[in-house]
C-alpha cells in the first residue's frame, strides 16, 4: 500500500481527524468530545482497519510532533508576561508543587500496596504526572520500563485535561494561580494546553509547575523508593 507511505498521509489524516474532533466538540459541547482523544482513536481505528503500518503514519506524525519542543520553549512567553504573579506567590507555588509531588508518591504507594503490584509497575509509574522527556529519563535512571511510563504520562495528560476543569470546580479551587499549579503539577503539558484555554495567566502558572514538578520528582523518587 504505497499510498500511505507518503508523509503527507500522516499529516493530512491528523489534521482531518482533529478538525472533526473540534467540530464534534463545538457541536455537542461535551468535555469528553475532546479533539485530541477523538483524533487519536479515529487514527488508531483507521490504521488498524486498513492494516496501515504504524511507521507509515509516523512519517507524517513525526513532522507534527517535531513542533512540541519549540512550542514547549514558547511557554517562556506567558511565563515572562506573568512573572510578577510567580514572584508574588513564589512560596505558595513551591510548596504547592512539592505537596503535589509528595501526594503523587504517597497515593501511588498506597494504591500499589493495596493492589499488590509488581515492583516494575511502581517504578515505571513514579514519573507518570511529569513531562514526557523528564519522565522517560527518570524511569531509565530507576531501571523501569519506559513504554509503561510513556503510556501513563499520556493517559495522565489526557485524563487531567478532561477532568481538570470539573475537578477545579467541584473542589472549589478558584484562585487563578492555584488552578494553574494544580493542572500543571497533576497533568504536565497536556494539562497546560487546557489551562491556556481557561486563561493566559492560568496557563502561565501551569507551565511554571511543569519543570518544578519534574525536577522535584526526579530528585525525590530515588529517596522515596528506598522507603517502599
Amino acid at each position: 500500500m504505497t499510498w500511505f507511505s507518503d508523509p503527507l498521509f500522516g499529516v493530512a489524516i491528523t489534521f482531518l481527524t482533529f478538525e472533526l474532533g473540534v467540530y464534534l466538540n463545538k457541536r455537542t459541547g461535551l468535555e469528553i468530545m475532546n479533539p485530541l482523544l477523538i483524533s487519536i482513536l479515529l487514527i488508531i481505528a483507521l490504521i488498524k482497519g486498513l492494516h496501515i503500518d504504524l511507521g507509515d503514519y509516523q512519517k507524517g506524525g513525526s513532522l507534527i510532533t517535531f513542533f512540541i519542543k519549540p512550542a514547549t520553549v514558547a511557554l517562556a512567553i506567558p511565563l515572562y508576561k506573568h512573572f510578577d504573579l510567580l514572584i508574588k506567590h513564589f512560596k505558595s507555588v513551591i510548596i504547592g508543587v512539592l505537596s503535589g509531588v509528595l501526594t503523587s508518591f504517597a497515593s501511588l504507594t498506597l494504591l500499589t500496596k493495596w493492589l499488590v503490584l509488581p515492583e516494575h509497575i511502581i517504578i515505571s509509574s513514579m514519573g507518570r504526572n511529569i513531562t514526557t522527556p523528564i519522565g522517560m529519563e527518570l524511569t531509565k535512571q530507576l531501571g523501569g520500563i519506559v513504554p509503561i511510563t510513556v503510556a501513563m504520562i499520556f493517559f495522565t495528560g489526557i485524563y487531567g485535561s478532561l477532568v481538570g476543569p470539573w475537578v477545579l470546580k467541584f473542589f472549589r479551587i478558584r484562585h487563578r494561580t492555584a488552578m494553574g499549579i494544580a493542572l500543571g503539577t497533576a497533568s504536565h503539558v497536556v494539562g497546560t494546553s487546557k489551562a491556556i484555554t481557561l486563561g493566559e495567566d492560568i496557563g502561565a502558572m501551569s507551565a511554571v509547575a511543569i519543570p518544578i514538578a519534574g525536577i522535584m520528582t526526579v530528585l525525590l523518587a530515588p529517596l522515596v523508593l528506598k522507603f517502599i
Binding site: I44, I64, P70, A71, V73, I77, G96, L111, F171, S193
Partner: protein, 120 residues
Amino acid sequence: MKFIRQLGIILSITYIGEIMTSRWNLIIPGSVVGIIVLFLLLQFKALKIESVEDTGQFLLKHLPIMFVPLGVGVYKYIEDIKDYVGILLLIVAVTTIIVMVVSGWSVQLLSKGGRDHDVV
C-alpha cells in the same frame, strides 16, 4: 516574513537548549532548558517580546494537535502492557485527581493574600 523570523528565533533557542542538555548531560530536558534560555533573554531585554510573541502564541494555541501522533504511538506499546492496562488506568484515574486537589488547595490556602486574582 515576521512569522518566519520569529519561528527561526524560537527554533534556534530550542536547538541551543537541546545542545546544552546533551553536552552537559543535564537531567533537565532540552526543551525545559530552552524555556529558561528564552525567559532569561526576555527578562534581560536581550530579546524583545515582540520578536517571538506572535509565533510563540500560535505554537502554544495549537499544542494539543501536536500530541496526536504521540498518542497514536502509545498504541504500539499496548501489546507490552495489555495485562496491566486496567491497573495503570486505575492508578492514573485516582491519583491524578488527588494530586490536582492537594496542590491546588495548598496554593489557594497559602495565597489567601492574593484575593485580587480570585475569579469569584
